[in-house]
Symmetry: C2
Subunit: 801 residues, 2 copies
């Protein structure tokens, strides 16, 4: 359970220590919780970002102004009136005031810890002789936050205190907003009206959850529902209302609402008081009352609901448990990575139209957690394929969903991911029955088998190439595409060409294993590789593409954006390179792209728009993806290194992508999730480089997991057969694994030893090759593997001597 | 020059005075400035809302989060990090810190005044022995703020101070934002990139003014451009950076930028120091440098630019100057009302697609200020009319403008405003040549005369009626229409029927004066009035309409929304009523709708959605327009009272709409503009009622002006002839006027006297009737008018005796 223990100076810098860069020194640590209806992202200071689905993402706790409806923003900024969940605590004897977690009073606390666990976020704060503990979890099914607050008197004398939960409601609607305390619900209920202008929009929103409520287990001594009335001239840091004995029962009538209550207690030494709250949106008051009944109806109701949420989160376990002895890596891989993958696969990033490439890769990840979901998702995606083979830009998850934002811009890469991700699923599960499933198309009721759907996707990719054999990029492909490279219909993408070759090879491998024809696929892949070599190899690396006007870009001659990571990785993956090229590519990536946080997506970062390239180059140095360590791209580089046998290098990159405790504060996050990027432009802005986007939506995860499972520890599915082929890094002389494989549990020990070749014992018996077949669920398997020490490991041992 | 002099307690409530409702007690006084490119709305505390056109409204000083692009919101909320323009002032000897105007330090000042003048906004603040004066004006042509800061040492000993201008830049863009000090510009320049997704959007935005700059006349001693770096843990109220001797030159690289500089001075007793700044957006650095040259290039440059802005504002004078002796009314009518009308008419509410009804009425107002603009605007509007006669929902002001928001919902009232507003223009100017102008249509290059255009508009209105003779409402008519009343194509609007009758009568009057046929128009008006009487009269007033399902609404039987103001006003205006009905209507309005702030638009305010009525009823009590004193509707009631000879009642309503000094704080504004509404639902929420929307965009103005000019003081144009027909209220025993009429200046004195009938002397000579004809610009006119004392005035005199 990662804990940030931050003592006061971290949070409350002394007034003259401006040599600290407060923007980076301020802990940005955050954690997140979700269920199928909502997501709650808590910053350790108490700021909160919450969204729920109805069916599009919506809010019940708003900022103080009308916010744009958009995708989640990276490097989210916090400000005084940002939505938050705070508890003010006042010592009525001394008037000492502080707030937990930290905002808005920003009082120096004696100790502070912020704890993200799988199914809850906790704070432990000691201040002014009081020890406060807060816990938040979500409902298992509804968009509801459950808060538990405990305070203990740690002094040796009694103390009189007031506790004020403060929950932001904010600017709900310009149409109407109001709030008051409702005795029947025992809480504050704020009402608002979603505005609309077109008659036809009304039916969609008339049943929206337009209410926000904060209900309590215990009756408060006083309350207020009016933001201005609460703050007065004291502001959030020292609200006027708290400087009075009791809150003044102020309603909100069009003014911005807030939910504040007051509880007065006399605490004897060591006495503990607990309060519980439920916060969230509702359609009407009856629903609020139901929630009161469900959570506070009997003394165990709240704990029962908490347990249901724990059960939900625990249903998302991965297929592999590693014990490598690294206190950072083991919990990250065993607990946090599957948790983040489960979030992606189970709730589709809280979107109704996930991008097809994301949806397929997230479900590749789900193949290792819950293959049933993955299977259904692949079938859903293919049912929205066009009969031309083209995959749509986004997968619509409900009948009223529609393609939004970037999904309205046609991209050319979506077909690549279908064979790649389905291959991984088939290898892990052995579920070849999937290939026979009959699936319709978006533009036709005719059904074809999954196998045909995938061949059609490949056919579409083969078709959409120019006379040189290179893939058209049109208005973009993957990894934040450049939208002006090929929008006139002539420009091509080296990455997409190589990715097409790799997809063909992946599918050929499946066909081979199924004794189906693979030669045609492999021949086309070879042809594409040759075309890329002929037209896109530029001295020491591959160009990123060639524009409509026949200008190669991502080449040495370019002052900015002269090298892109993705074409290099995928050239290695698709075997487009010879030994000399490989050496050159590895050297170029190492020299031009590598940073302490992993390889950057491109360099040098652009400083101005290049009009023939377009959207990407608008992202200046230090901005979101321009020259960032874009983890999704970085993980493919690691994967490609595995495929060429450079496992040690791959491992080192994977570790770089994982924020360590040491630099968690610089990156502003705990190692509980992988963000979509770390700030790049390392050579131009080394100080900013490495900062986390704090955005936990990323296609990185499934590939990170797959790298470790299949390549590093090498316990890999092959159409239902388990293949043992470890490539342990020098840091791991031995590992112990628990592998769940199609419902079969295997305990596997792998040790680097001074042996000539790998040897494998299953339940004490040596086996001939590294394929474990005929495994049965009723048996238990103890597998012992000895692998030859890698050169690196031998060196490591010698160094130690 | 209205001044709010607020002593400290108003701004810094004592900590226990929670009996004050801080939301209403906090002064919300605000002022606004504009030029043709931008608008700046300053709250007296220092918070600012600024928009400029490129060509759609854009921002250069942003909130801390991604804001929704939408129309201006009423009752705008302020919060700690709201955009603002502040100056921190630190006494370096004592460490006393305050900020002007007031935010963000919120220090008790010895005195505070906030002064809106025509072309500038000023603050005068005294605190800690320093007297600070700030002035802001805009550029005459560019979207630029010009700030002048002066501080004087009022103590009898020298003092060392630091001054820190703090200008919000905020969350510019998720694509990129950065800022640093630029020595060549002598200021902070923040860069950002406007995001886009579609290739076709790029050309529209590539030349946007994506930079924000704050340049200074004098070189600062230090600066910072990083919001977090400036604030640290002290927050805005006590920034860490200010607690050090010098700011630490922090750039922003993707972090939210800010523009802060520091000036250190030793001030002798009575010594004054001045600093000047220019703040705004720019396309590139060259433009920033140009601005430096233009404003600070020579010692007089800044004052020259200030004068140019004063000249611009002074070009917007009204046609009438009143001296009635009321220190509130005279400056309001002579200075502030024409200023607000000029803002509407000259910049079209900073919109590229003003709603047609607003555009026409705003230009009716412009007829009294700058008839040339009004004429061009009427021609532009008619050039977008359809050949069916239908007027569009919005008038597109540029080639790339498009209909947005509510303008995408078809409304049925736009044709009504064309004859009404053009009539007013013709009567004021006598410019009958307009009627012969040939104008094309939106859907045809064929041209027809303006006279035909207007007849086509009337024809369209006559056509779009049901078998009962009532006007279809479809998805809405005027005054926040109900969008579900008639969306199926059958529902009708009594208001629109009556407005059609009034429009016909207005145009008949013009035709009569031009000796053209008016009988047909008048006959149709009579027929419509009869239909409304037959189907919509409900016991004591007119219903608001009849739904698609043949249910009358706005009737006594309705528990909510049982009476609407507009149908009553327009029935009086269109002479649809007999004496008994008039009495009933006046009584009903008085009893059910009247409040201390004017008549409400409807009552009782709705508390729930009524699905056959729609959008309006979504606006709950206390919300924007539901049951509000919607001034645009209120002014028509006053106008209708004038038309039936109830001038005293009309005058009393007009005065109610004008916030007086006394209750300016409750309404949260100075009497420098009329807001679009005062909060209503008076009977349900008397405490909230009367609060100003603070939104200065409103169609009220031209009608308010016309009421006073034509009906109350009665110096009215009639196709170029000036008609004297005063109806002075009892409060004005006499008035002195300066009337500009087609370039002719007339000085007119009107006095209530004990006379049988009105008598008029022009340059000492009695004239026969009240029509002043043959006026010539070369002469000067002194007009003396005696009018019989009104009954009210006689009573007033008797009471005084």
């Amino acid at each position: 359970m990662p804990v940030v223990k931050a003592n006061a100076p971290l949070f409350s810098m002394s007034q003259h220590s401006v040599q600290l860069n407060s923007a980076t020194a301020m802990p940005k640590a955050s954690g997140f919780l979700w269920n199928r209806q909502m997501m709650l992202h808590m910053n350790c200071r108490g700021y909160a970002t919450a969204q729920f689905m109805q069916p599009e993402p919506a809010k019940y706790s708003h900022g103080p102004m009308l916010e744009a409806k958009t995708f989640m923003q990276p490097e989210h900024s916090y400000f005084a009136h940002h939505p938050g969940r705070f508890f003010y605590i006042k010592n009525e004897d001394t008037n000492e005031l502080f707030s937990v977690p930290y905002e808005p009073v920003r009082c120096r606390s004696q100790s502070f810890s912020f704890v993200q666990s799988s199914a809850a976020i906790n704070w432990l704060v000691e201040c002014f002789g009081l020890s406060v503990s807060i816990e938040v979890n979500l409902s298992a099914s509804d968009p509801l936050e459950m808060w538990q607050f405990e305070v203990k008197n740690t002094r040796d004398s009694a103390v009189n205190i007031s506790i004020y939960p403060y929950f932001s409601i904010g600017y709900m609607s310009w149409m109407n907003q109001s709030a008051t305390f409702d005795s029947a619900c025992n809480g504050i209920v704020a009402t608002s009206v979603t505005p609309y202008q077109k008659v036809e929009d009304y039916p969609k929103l008339k049943d929206f959850k337009d209410l926000t409520f904060l209900i309590a287990e215990d009756k408060p001594d006083s309350w207020t529902a009016n933001q201005y009335g609460f703050e007065g001239e004291g502001g959030l840091a020292s609200p006027d209302a708290i400087n009075t004995p009791l809150l003044a029962s102020k309603v909100s009538a069009y003014e911005p609402p807030v939910a504040v209550m007051q509880y007065r207690h006399r605490l004897l030494p060591d006495e503990i008081r607990r309060h519980r709250f439920v916060f969230g949106p509702a359609t009407n008051k009856a629903e609020v009352k139901q929630n009161r009944q469900r959570h506070f109806g009997d003394p165990k109701a709240f704990s029962t609901q908490q347990q249901r949420y724990i059960d939900y989160i625990e249903s998302g376990k991965g297929c592999l448990n590693i014990n490598c002895g690294d206190p950072l890596f083991d919990p990250f891989f065993n607990q946090w990575l599957p948790r983040q993958m489960f979030y992606h696969g189970d709730v589709n990033r809280l979107s109704t139209d996930p991008q097809t490439r994301n949806f397929l890769q997230d479900n590749m990840g789900m193949s290792y957690i819950n293959p049933t979901t993955a299977r259904q998702s692949f079938l859903l995606a293919m049912s929205q394929q066009l009969s031309s083979g083209a995959m749509p830009d986004g997968v619509l998850l409900s009948e009223i969903a529609e393609l939004k934002y970037i999904n309205q811009i046609p991209h050319t890469d979506h077909c690549v991911w279908l064979p790649i991700c389905v291959s991984a699923y088939l290898n892990e599960t052995g579920d070849i029955s999937l290939l026979g499933e009959q699936v319709k198309f978006a533009d036709s009721e005719q059904t074809l088998s999954v196998h045909r759907h995938i061949e059609l996707a490949l056919g579409w990719l083969i078709q959409r190439r120019d006379s040189r054999g290179l893939s058209y990029i049109e208005q973009g492909d993957w990894c934040d595409p450049m939208n002006m490279v090929g929008h006139k219909g002539r420009g091509v993408s080296s990455w997409l060409s190589l990715a097409t070759a790799f997809a063909l090879q992946q599918w050929a491998e499946i066909n081979q294993r199924l004794n189906k024809d693979s030669q045609r696929l492999l021949a086309t892949a070879t042809e594409i590789n040759a075309a890329v070599n002929q037209h896109c190899w530029d001295q020491d690396w591959f160009a990123r593409g060639i524009t409509d006007d026949n200008v190669a870009f991502g080449v040495k001659a370019d002052a900015e954006g002269s090298i892109y990571l993705n074409p290099q990785s995928w050239a290695l993956m698709s075997k487009a390179v010879d030994a000399e090229q490989t050496t050159k590519i590895l050297a170029a990536v190492e020299k031009q792209l590598m940073t302490p946080y992993g390889p950057m997506m491109l360099a040098p970062a652009y400083t101005a728009m290049r009009e023939d390239v377009g959207r990407l180059t608008q992202k200046y140095p230090g901005s979101a993806e321009n020259g960032s360590v874009y983890n999704h791209a970085a993980v493919f580089y690691a994967y490609s290194l595995c495929l060429i046998g450079e496992h040690q290098r791959a491992f080192e990159i994977l570790i770089k992508m994982l924020p360590s405790q040491r630099d968690a504060l610089i990156r502003g996050q705990l190692p509980t999730f992988i963000p979509n990027y770390y700030r790049g432009a390392y050579f131009q802005h080394p100080q900013q480089a490495g900062r986390s986007s704090q955005l936990f939506n990323t296609g990185t995860l499934a590939w990170y997991y797959r790298c470790i499972v299949e390549e590093i520890v090498g316990v890999k599915g092959e159409l239902g057969c388990l293949v043992i082929e470890p490539h342990l890094p020098k840091e791991w002389p031995k590992v112990e694994l628990r592998r769940m494989f199609n419902g079969i549990e295997l305990n596997i020990k792998i040790e680097q030893a001074v042996v000539e070749q790998m040897s494998i014992k299953v339940n004490g018996e040596q086996i001939e090759d590294n394929h474990l077949q005929g495994l049965v669920a009723s048996k238990s398997y103890q597998v012992e593997v000895l692998v030859p020490k890698t050169a690196a490991q031998q060196n490591a041992v010698m160094e130690a001597v």
